[in-house]
């Protein structure tokens, strides 16, 4: 009696349910309302948690009813993009914006199959340098120059 199980669908549903439950559990730690604010900080999280769980349940049930066609996906490029985005999060204050821009650009280009590493880095560096000058000197904003300069 095993109906076809759409694994991806089921995972989505299960994740949603888990998230919904987690939200409600965390929200229980919030204080309730005050004398005037009857609804309090807990209400919306409870509704959201319930909504997530119920939608997730609906999707999970649907996973047992039909299997969807999914297009083929290659996850390797996505990892390159993730790498590209982790660089600024960790390094922008250390090495400054210009090298970070070079790396983000080059890694992003690599995700789309570009093999011209040095050219990509150079282009990214140029982007970084131009925007650095524009933002810091033109607009008075503060792109970091990197603490390694000190």
């Amino acid at each position: 009696m095993l109906k076809p199980l759409d694994k991806r669908e089921a995972t989505l549903g299960a994740l949603a349910i888990a998230l919904g439950v987690a939200v409600v559990v965390v929200a229980r730690g919030f204080p309730g309302g005050s004398i005037y604010d009857a609804l309090g900080p807990r209400l919306l999280p409870y509704i959201v948690g319930a909504g997530l769980a119920l939608s997730g349940l609906s999707i999970l049930i649907g996973a047992f009813r039909r299997a969807n066609e999914y297009e083929a996906l290659d996850l390797a490029p996505v990892l390159w993009i993730v790498a590209a985005l982790i660089i600024p999060v960790t390094l922008i204050r250390v090495i400054g914006w210009i090298p970070v821009a070079a790396l983000v650009f080059a890694l992003g280009a690599r995700a789309f199959g570009s093999r011209r590493v040095w050219l990509d880095l150079a282009l990214g560096l140029a982007f970084g340098a131009i925007t650095f000058v524009l933002f810091n000197y033109g607009l008075g904003l503060n792109l970091p120059a990197g603490s390694w300069i000190r």
């Binding site: 005050s34 004398i35 005037y36 008075g140 904003l141 503060n142 603490s147």
Partner: protein
């Protein structure tokens, strides 16, 4: 004697500028915010008085001002040309929210200017005087809606102090938070809340057009040009300001601190700054290093106590 000393200080200004160089200000607010405007005012005055060659303003908005403080601490160690600006709200925020840093982690340098908080109502409000308001509040605390900035902000604390002075538990205040001054003005004018609070500048256009009235001011004496009694006159001992100040990095030497505080002292006493205060409608609240440090301590106690009574003190 004081005047002579002042002239001597000002006379040394040009040499001072070359000596001082560029001032770096870390500002806990985005471009265009109140803190940013204050910082730019400092820059303008200091430059006009030739006390600095220029200033760099770096913005770190958010986190109740504590992100800026945190950034200041990590990036400006040993830097005798850097200050972090702050305001009354940044003193109260860490008291009601657990933050890794607070204003106690930086060295108070000088308190500069600000505005006294006052209470406003719309022109055709049922409250003709502050006594009417307090009477109704005492009779039925939940019948009054008080509107102002975000919960735990200076306006909220102002109301709480008034409530306490009137003998009512501040928890009974029906406080309605708003996102910004524009919302507060709209709420008061539209009759959605009955009372508003803020500085005079926030409400000046409405007051001048006769659409709003000031009920009372939270200052030690009556304010020039405002036809309203002080809270003290009416038996409510509340003086509260929304002030702006600057602090320095804890790693600086005494010599560096002296240099920085002399800079701001000169600015505060200068003609340019005094004129600016008049133009912008700000009140001169200058306190030097020692004065500001003492003020901070006493204020933290006062605000901490009232937040405790509001049930908002961070554990």
């Amino acid at each position: 004697m004081r005047k002579w000393l002042g002239w001597m200080l000002l006379a040394t200004a040009p040499a001072f500028a070359q000596d001082f160089g560029r001032l770096e200000m870390i500002v806990p607010g985005g471009p265009g915010s109140g803190q940013d405007q204050a910082a730019r005012a400092f820059e303008e005055a200091l430059r006009a008085e030739k006390l600095i060659t220029g200033a760099q303003i770096i913005h770190y908005a958010g986190g109740g001002g504590m992100i800026a403080v945190s950034q200041f601490l990590t990036s400006k160690a040993g830097n005798g040309n850097a200050v972090v600006t702050q305001g009354a709200g940044h003193l109260s925020f860490p008291l009601s929210n657990k933050t890794p840093v607070s204003l106690n982690d930086v060295v108070p340098l000088a308190r500069l200017a600000g505005e006294y908080e006052l209470l406003v109502v719309r022109a055709n409000s049922e409250f003709k005087t502050i006594d009417d308001l307090i009477a109704k509040y005492k009779a039925n605390p939940s019948s009054i809606t008080w509107g102002a900035g975000s919960t735990g902000s200076t306006d909220h604390i102002f109301y709480a102090l008034i409530s306490k002075a009137a003998g009512i538990d501040p928890k009974k205040l029906n406080y309605i938070p708003h996102a910004n001054t524009g919302d507060i003005v709209a709420a008061v004018l539209g009759g959605h809340v009955q009372v508003g609070a803020g500085g005079f500048q926030d409400f000046a256009p409405q007051i001048q057009a006769g659409r709003m009235r000031v009920l009372a001011v939270g200052s030690p004496e009556r304010l020039k040009g405002i036809d309203a009694p002080t809270l003290r006159e009416r038996g409510l001992d509340v003086v509260y300001t929304n002030w702006r100040a600057v602090s320095a990095h804890p790693s600086l030497t005494v010599a560096q601190l002296d240099r920085l505080s002399a800079l701001f002292e000169k600015m505060a006493k200068s003609k340019t700054w005094q004129k600016m205060l008049v133009d912008k409608g700000w009140t001169d609240l200058y306190l030097d290093r020692k004065g500001y440090a003492e003020f901070m301590k006493s204020e933290q106690q006062r605000v901490g106590a009232i937040l405790e009574e509001l049930g908002m003190r961070a554990k």
